[in-house]
Every structure is written in C-alpha cells, then in structure tokens.
C-alpha cells in the first residue's frame, strides 16, 4: 500500500494556470480545517471565510472534524496508531465533504501529514485499522464505516501557500494597503521546517520568503531580524510545562523584532500567535526578563480581513487584548 502525502501539488496548478491560479479553485469544494486555537482569534477563521466569499469560492467547515490531537501525541498521551486513527477519521470525514482543505494552523497541518506518514509502518497501519474497525457508529451521511483510505481525493493546503498562490488575483479586491508599515514575519517551525508536504529537496531547504513577498505586495516593508527563523516558544507545549525557559525564546523573538523597528509581527499560525501575544506571557516576560515588549502580533488571515475592509470586531478585536493592535488597525484603515 502506498500512502503518498495529501499536500496539494501547487507547482502543477502554477503550470496549468500560470495567469489565473484562482480558477483552479472555482469549481472545487473547499473546507476550512477548524484549529482549536481559532477560538481565541476568530478573525483567523473569519478572515479566510470572508476572503473566500469575496473570491466566490465554495467554502465550508466540517461538523464532524475533531481536534488534530497533535498536542497529545507530542507528549505521548496517545499511541501512534491512536493518533493515526484520529487523523484517518478526520481524513475520512474531510474527504467525504471536500476536494481541498485549508489549514490556518501549522500544528494541524503537520499533524494531518504526520498521521498519514505513520500508515507506511505496517504495524501502525494494522493497529489503526483495528481501532477504526472497532468503532461501532456509522458515518452518518453515507452509512459506511470509517476505514483507512488508500487514495483519498482530498488535498491539503496551508493558508499561506494558498494566499501566496493567488496573490496577484487577491490584490485587486483589497480595500486597504499596509502604508509602508514595517513588518517582521514569523513562519513558525512546523511551516519552516516541514518536509512532509514537499516533493523535492529544493522546496524544503531553500530560503522561504512567501510572507515577505506578500508584505511587499500589500504595500508594507518586510524587515529582517536575527530571530526570524526561531521558534515562538510554544515548543510542543513547553510554554505550559517549562514556562520560564520557553518564554526566554519568546522574549528573544519579540525583542529581536522590536529592535529592528518592526511595527508588527505577522505569522500564519494561531498557536504561534497565542504564544507571542498572550498578555499573561508578556507580563511574565517583563517580570522575568525585565523588559516590557508591546509589539503587536497579527495572523495572516486577520491581516487579509483588515485589508479587505472587514469590520474591526470581526477581524481582530474579539477576545483580543494584544497591545497596540488597535493602533495598527487604524493606521492601515485610515483614509
């Protein structure tokens, strides 16, 4: 059995639709993977939803999709086969509903790829099948039982890759621009270091600059900084367990971006956003490392919502108390 990764082949789309890659998605059923941490940053989901609606894309969410469970696997609280079974349950549901699944979270994206990879190990695959066979409930829509799909048609795409792919078509529908704001970008480890979704070594090892390119395209100035490629500090829940150590990494990152005069930090992952913006963590950083850092942090999808002209309440302010975010919102949306 072969278990090729389910990442959408972006190069193929670029070849087939060099001028208008968006047209590839027009007749596709698309689904937004629900990342748990979007709860704290609803603009991450709403931003992509609003963008998709503006582009006339057929987008939904999957009611039966669960958390990716990556956080439990990383701490060995579930086995490889259980992790793979949770993933395959999700893959089965998503495959039933969509052609393409979009991911706003590096962690979820990585988990879905990781779970699929484990199926290449015969022992894990056997146990995963056994677990899925043990589920008595039937799939509600088609009456079938969960099983490992060897060749599902569904394909996965990270939001950053999607937005980058259709960037020249998005630019026409944006209401605002970045007005020369200086932007430091953070990719997040499970985007930057991930090889599972790549088809060749070059894509994996070469410098990644999609966020910087988008910032420039949207009228901002990307600024380089020393800790550009470093972790946000989440570190597979290290920030919960060894907090002082993990927040040193967070501190280094924020400080480094502030040092080069960045107006805000842009990222494509809500888990990184949570770590880099949580007020409690900022306070602890001040207490432990003696510096008050107030650089605002924004997810790429939230930024898209702001640039599209969505209501402030919908894009960024719900449940957010990130410092100076209002200031950035106003400087972008001023007429």
């Amino acid at each position: 059995m072969s278990f090729s990764n389910l990442a959408l082949d972006i190069n193929e789309i670029k070849e087939r639709y060099p001028e208008e890659p968006l047209s590839f998605f027009k007749d596709k059923k698309m689904c937004l993977f629900k990342a748990c941490l979007e709860k704290y940053f609803p603009g991450v989901r709403y931003g992509m939803l609003d963008l998709s609606n503006e582009l006339d894309l057929n987008v939904s969410t999957c009611e039966s999709q669960s958390c990716c469970s990556g956080t439990f696997f990383q701490r060995n609280l579930i086995t490889r086969a259980q992790f793979a079974a949770i993933n395959e349950r999700n893959v089965y549901e998503l495959n039933h509903q969509a052609d393409i699944v979009l991911f706003s979270c590096n962690g979820c994206y990585n988990s879905l790829m990781r779970g699929r990879d484990f199926l290449r190990i015969e022992e894990v695959r056997y146990k995963t099948e056994e677990i899925l066979n043990g589920l008595e409930d039937k799939f509600p829509t088609n009456g079938d039982k969960y099983r490992i799909l060897e060749n599902p048609s569904v394909r996965f795409l990270h939001d950053l890759d999607f937005i980058y792919l259709i960037r020249n078509e998005i630019i026409d529908i944006l209401k605002y621009e970045l007005n020369d704001l200086k932007v430091a970008v953070h990719y997040g480890c499970h985007y930057l270091n991930l090889s599972r979704d790549k088809k060749n070594v070059d894509e994996y090892v070469r410098d990644k600059s999609k966020l910087e390119d988008l910032v420039s395209l949207f009228g901002g100035t990307p600024v380089d900084y020393q800790e550009r490629e470093s972790c946000c500090g989440w570190g597979a829940s290290q920030v919960l367990i060894n907090q002082k150590e993990a927040l040193k990494i967070t501190y280094n990152k924020l400080k480094s971006a502030e040092n080069v005069g960045a107006d805000f930090l842009l990222m494509p992952c809500p888990t990184c956003l949570y770590t880099l913006s949580k007020p409690e963590y900022r306070e602890k950083i001040q207490k432990w490392y003696g510096e008050k850092l107030d650089i605002p942090t924004i997810h790429l999808n939230e930024l898209m919502a702001i640039l599209l002209g969505c209501e402030q309440e919908r894009c960024i302010t719900l449940r957010r108390t990130t410092p100076r975010l209002q200031e950035i919102f106003e400087s972008i949306t001023q007429d």
Partner: protein, 172 residues
C-alpha cells in the same frame, strides 16, 4: 561528552527503538557535527543536547530514559532541516524515547502531566482542547468515537485525574 570510547558501541537499544522507522534508519551515521545543537531552541534554554542523547542511544546507555532532558525537546524539527544526513529524524527519536521512558515507569514529572488534565478532559468530552470551540460543538456520537479510539491510552489516565480533582473540589 567524552565518557565513551570508540569501542563502546552497542546498537541493540538503537535497533529496538528504530526498527520500524524508515525516517531514522541513519541515526547510526550521525557524524556528531553539532549543527542540530547549534540551532536547537531547547539547547539555548536548557541542558537538552541532541548529540549527547544520540551518543547514549548508540552506546545502549538506557539511562537516557531517566534523563529529564528528553522532555525538554521543542519538537520544532529544526534539527531535521539542518542535519546534513538524510533519514535522521531527531524529534521522532525523542518521541520514541519518551514512549519507552513511560513504558519503563519513568516518564515526565507528575507536575508536567497536570498541565494536560484540562486539555485531556476537553478533548475527550468535546473533541477540542479549548473550553468552547469557535462555531458548533462536535456532535456527541463523534466524541464517543474519539473516546473509543483513545481506549487504554495515557490520555484516559490523565482524564481520570481530572475527575478525581473535580470530586475533591466538590467535597471541599
């Protein structure tokens, strides 16, 4: 670092750990270049040292399972990216070492696992790790499926601890 000599090789432990992982079949070819350590976030803020851990594994030194170091890895996969060798996946090795550590009765500190109590409870009762998801909750029958999948997993024991905590809270 120099506590081992060239004649100390004992790859039995390594073979047990990586027998079914294609991704780690070349750990034995680690050249101790240290690139992984230099780029490692955990190494910057703790005693976590991948090179030392690999040396222990390749010498069959199972004391590595008792070391708290293995619980400091960020699983960021940076080391995989900078490693000059193919088929060396340190984060996966760390997950396997942690698993073995659990099996041998060492595992992480109790206090570390306590941080997972609430998340485990939410996952097994709602299918998410936050108090309330954005949008609709996962239907109950789907949550049951997750519970069934997680039968006998450690997450269930952590969840049990949340029930005991709740009971204690009610009684007090």
């Amino acid at each position: 670092m120099d506590q081992y000599s060239d004649s100390d090789w004992n790859t039995k432990f390594y073979e047990e750990l990586v027998e079914d992982i294609e991704e780690n079949k070349n750990i034995i070819q680690c050249i101790s270049c240290g690139k992984c350590v230099g780029d490692c976030p955990a190494a910057k803020v703790s005693e976590f040292n991948i090179r030392k851990i690999i040396q222990k594994v390749l010498r069959g030194d199972k004391s590595v399972l008792k070391d708290s170091d293995i619980w400091h890895c960020f699983l960021c996969e940076r080391c995989v990216r900078v490693c000059p060798r193919e088929h060396i996946n340190i984060p996966l090795l760390i997950i396997y070492l942690r698993n073995e550590s659990f099996k041998q009765g060492f595992g992480p500190k109790y206090n570390d696992l306590r941080k997972y109590v609430e998340m485990a409870e939410r996952f097994l009762t709602k299918g998410v790790v936050v108090e309330e998801p954005l949008g609709n909750e996962l239907p109950k029958e789907r949550v049951k499926e997750l519970n069934k999948i997680c039968d006998f997993a450690r997450i269930k024991y952590v969840f049990k601890a949340s029930k005991i905590n709740n009971k204690k809270r009610k009684n007090s």
